[in-house]
Every structure is written in C-alpha cells, then in structure tokens.
C-alpha cells in the first residue's frame, strides 16, 4: 500500500471534523475488509490521503432492544449480530444475512456500517491499477455493458450515467425488508434512501458524515422474515442474487409484505410489484410463485445475465414461503 496518514477518532465529532479537514481525500475505516482491498489494488484514480479510524470511538459497537426497537451500533461486527439469539428469533432475515456474508473471518472483522457503505464489486471497476477508468470513476464509458456482464444489473443501468454495477451487500436487503432506519452523524434516514449511484459513491452520505446506528422498528404482530442468498460457493463468495422478505399472515391471508432483492440492480431493489401482487391474498405456493414473476416483471437483463432473472424469481418465491413456515 502507498503511504497515508492514520487518525484514531475518539468521538463521532472528532471523526467528522477529521473527515471535513481532508474534504473527500480521506476515508473512514471500520473493519477495513472492503477499503483495504481497494487500496491494495489501487483501483481508484485518487488514493486516500488519510484513514480515519472509527473503531477507537467508544459506544458504536452495541446491540440491544429499546422499547421494542432493535438498535445496532454501526461498528457492531457481523459475527456478533448473526450469532445473537435475540436477532435470530425476532429479526431472522438480519441474522441469516449476517451469517451468510463472506466468511467467518470476515464476519469477525466486518461491521454492519461497513457492509452498508461498501463499494461496488464490478470487475472492471475493481481491476487493479485503475485499469478501466469507467463512468463510475468519472471516466467516459462503461466497460461492462459491451464486455462480460454476467454479474451486472438485470434492472437497467443507473439513470445518471449508465453504470450497471450491482450493489453487493447481503445485509442491506434484509434490513430494508425489516423496514430499518439508519442514524448518521447528522440525520436519520430510511435505509432505502441511503443508497445512491454516483461517481465514487454508493451512498448519499456526505464526505464528513458517518453512520452511527441502525434501528429496526418492532416487526408487526405475526410477521416473519427470511433471507436467502445464491452464490457459487457457500462461503466467501459475494451474492449473485439475494432476497429478503418480511411477511405478515393473518388467517391465511397476506396482511403486510416487504420484499427486497439485492445484487440485481445498482441499488438494493425493493420488489414493490411482488408486494402488491400478494397483498390480501391467500398464501400458498402458487401465490409465492406469482410474486416471483411480478418482482421481475420490469427486468431487462443484458447479454450475459438472463440467468439471474430466473434465480431472482425463485429466491423471491422461496423467501416468501420461508416466512410462512
């Protein structure tokens, strides 16, 4: 790695002011499992001049229920979230997502905040030494759209520039299905509104803004949630498609539904069509299957990723059925 300055932040304010001092020439580091890989490969045209360490801020690593709301500190490690019995019982989708993220070692290091703020994995973008200066780096073209796009968006490119890189997070769809909020150093956002597709950005966070907490409201009575992931290997691999659902069934009928896919589009993809398709209807396998069809009704796969549509349909169906068990 190249040389950079390293600053241990001791409070959220300290982290924010250090980030502000450097403008967008610094990066916050949590577990470092995403950031250090990017720095080692020198994928970006600009190298961070400083890393601001968030791990030295006390009080950002916690997990507790307060008045029915599950509160998780941004620095909480995915291993601790996945293994927590409370999360497993009441917020199953989050527990399952945390347990399927990467490998055990990466879960012992990676944080929930880092998982939501991680960068895209498009293999052109990630190619070492800034080999492909694509749209997402402020360059002139997307290499994936004419190249090998087997792991790219099946929901079209971003409006802004035509980037087809998917959002790779496993926990994001689970948290969106669970209707989570994120607390930052300056605001509270619905998690769905955190994501953004822009040059050098995957979130709406400002250069001097950090995530501090994720809050999950009390799930509706009778609601169940589930998360499923399709990847080549069971461990280490990023999702090819993943899907989370939270479904409330009352007297056999769907009373409420939140369904979210990820790794299929430039941002986590809330399957509103699927939710609409099952609301108020009698829950059975056929209905779940129709939800899968509805979820992908607007899909427009590229040359090489039509197979992802089929996987996504099936995951939607299975995630819904898993909530009915």
């Amino acid at each position: 790695m190249r040389k950079f300055a390293h600053i241990d932040a001791h409070t959220v304010d300290e982290a924010v002011s250090a980030l502000r001092l450097y403008g967008n020439r610094a990066a916050a580091i949590a577990g470092g499992t995403d950031l250090l890989g990017k720095m080692k490969d020198e994928i970006l045209p600009r190298y961070p001049e400083a890393l601001i360490n968030l791990k030295t801020i006390p009080g950002l690593e916690f997990l507790r229920e307060d008045a029915g709301v599950l509160r998780v500190g941004a620095l909480t490690k995915l291993e601790d979230i996945g293994k927590e019995p409370l999360v497993c019982q009441k917020y199953a989708a989050l527990s399952q997502a945390a347990n399927r993220m990467a490998s055990p070692h990466l879960r012992e290091m990676g944080t929930l905040g880092g998982n939501l703020c991680q960068d895209i994995r498009c293999w052109y973008y990630r190619n070492p030494n800034n080999r492909f200066p694509c749209l997402r780096k402020g360059g002139g073209r997307c290499y994936a759209i004419d190249g090998d796009n087997r792991y790219h968006s099946i929901m079209g490119g971003s409006v802004e520039g035509g980037c087809y890189a998917v959002h790779p997070s496993d926990t994001a769809p689970a948290l969106i299905a669970l209707n989570a909020l994120v607390v930052t150093s300056k605001r509270i956002l619905n998690l769905e509104n955190l994501f953004q597709v822009d040059v050098g950005k995957t979130t709406v966070l400002d250069a001097d803004e950090i995530l501090t907490e994720i809050q999950i409201p009390k799930p509706p009575d009778g609601a169940k949630s589930a998360f499923l992931k399709f990847a080549i290997r069971k461990s280490i691999d990023f999702p090819i498609v993943n899907c989370a659902a939270m479904i409330t069934i009352f007297r056999g009928k769907v009373k409420a539904a939140r369904i979210c896919l990820n790794a299929v589009a430039v941002k986590p993809y809330r399957a509103l069509n699927a939710e609409k398709a099952i609301l108020g209807k009698q829950m059975d396998e056929k209905l779940a299957e129709s939800a899968g069809l509805a979820a992908l009704s607007e899909s427009k796969p590229t040359e090489r990723n039509g197979y992802m549509v089929q996987i996504a349909k099936t995951l939607v169906k299975r995630a819904i059925l898993a909530c009915n068990e």
Binding site: R2, F4, H6, I7, I29, N53, S103, I236
Partner: protein, 234 residues
C-alpha cells in the same frame, strides 16, 4: 578534521556546534554570559534544571502526558509476550508479524481477505492479518500458530496424524482457525467445524481431513478437562 566535529564543516558550512552557539540555542558552559538552563517547557517556555521537574510540571499544569507516545507506537501481546513497536500506517498486521518479527508460520496467499492463510487470533477472534492494519492493533492480544504449537495444543499432533496437509501452505491458517473454534466450543459438530473453516482455502484439497483432526483434538481437550492436572487445556 577534529574528531567529533561535524563533517559538514568541510563543505564550507558552520559545523553544528558552532551554528547552535551562534544562535544561542544550546547552552555552553564555555561561553560566558550564556545562562545554563536545561529544559524548557514546550507549552509555556518556563525552564527547569531537572528532567523529573519538567515532567511533573507538564502533568500538573498542562494536564498532558509528559512523554506522549507517537501515533505509530503500538503495544501488543503476541503469544503471551509483550512488545512495543513503532509502525507505519500502511503496515498490515501480517507484515509486522511475519516480516518484522519473523513469525513465519503466518502465511500470505491472496493478500485480499479471501483465503484465510494469514489467520491469527486477536482477542479471541480468528481474523485475517493481511486485512488488518498494525497501527489499529494497540493493546491487542494476538496468538499465532507458533504460540499454539508452543502450548502443546493437541491440534498440532492430530493434524499430523490425520494428514491434513499436502503442500502445507494453508495449514497454519486452518490450525489457528480451529484453535479459535475450540476455545469457544469444546464439542463442535462436524457441521460447526465446516462452518468455522468456511474462510480457509486449500488448493491441495485436504478439506475432508480437517474435521476429523479437530474432533479428535477436541476429544483430547475434553478428557484433559475432566482430569485436571494431566494437561493444561489452555
């Protein structure tokens, strides 16, 4: 040239001693009229004769550590021994352990967090030393495969017995990961072992042997626990 004088004088410049005297920066007993004051406080410029005196002045009046450590000073414990290092921000923990300290049991394969061969145990967690900055390990407790071998952990013997390696390059990473598992769970199922080893890659394909060795090592540890005194299970 006089012994001890700066060789810069040979380049036609003042030698250091003369320069300092000229600028009156350095006390010099030989120069009449220059007052001998040894230590001046960096905060308020009050001077002190004794080192201890200025130290207690800084602590008492400026509420600061007398000798603050630099950002890059790292105290940590590796295999039970305490170390202090002066590290650069871009050093990984792997680089510190392997290149600087010479614990070569920790291996580097992918250097990207994707293979597990650089695993060490940090405060009880199996973590990847290639994706950890050394400067972020202040005060941590680290265990490497050397420490596990030195403690006569049964895993080492069982790994040999069950032929868990071919080329052996991935083996330390597996052993360290397995040790972290056994520290938490002395009776793991085969499924739990497979899950725990999910981040360790072996290009030679030794996978089926590991659960056998680990279950046998666990058994030895459980028996030792039942008969205290026979072996120290730690």
């Amino acid at each position: 040239m006089k012994a001890g004088s700066s060789n810069r004088s040979s380049c036609g410049r003042l030698d250091d001693g003369a320069l300092y005297q000229e600028l009156k920066l350095m006390p010099n007993k030989d120069v009449p009229g220059v007052e001998l004051k040894k230590y001046s406080c960096p905060y308020c410029l009050i001077t002190f004769d004794a080192f201890e005196a200025i130290k207690s002045h800084i602590v008492a009046d400026h509420k600061s550590e007398a000798l603050p450590e630099s950002e890059g000073t790292v105290h940590l414990t590796i295999n039970g021994q305490e170390y202090t290092f002066q590290v650069e921000p871009d050093w990984t923990l792997y680089y510190l352990i392997h290149d600087k300290l010479g614990f070569t049991g920790t291996k580097l394969m992918c250097d990207r967090g994707a293979c597990g061969s650089c695993t060490v145990i940090m405060n009880g967690r199996p973590i990847l030393s290639c994706m950890t900055l050394a400067i972020e390990c202040k005060g941590k407790r680290i265990e490497t495969v050397e420490g596990i071998a030195a403690s006569n952990h049964p895993l080492v013997e069982e790994y040999v017995k069950h032929h868990c390696m071919q080329c052996g390059y991935c083996t330390p990473g597996f052993v360290v990961t397995a040790k972290a598992l056994l520290d938490r769970n002395l009776n793991p199922t085969e499924y739990e072992i497979r899950e725990a080893l999910g981040g360790n890659l072996c290009r030679c394909g030794t996978y089926p042997q590991h659960p056998k060795a680990i279950m046998d090592a666990a058994k030895i540890l459980r028996e030792a626990n039942r008969e205290p005194g026979i072996r120290d299970a730690g």
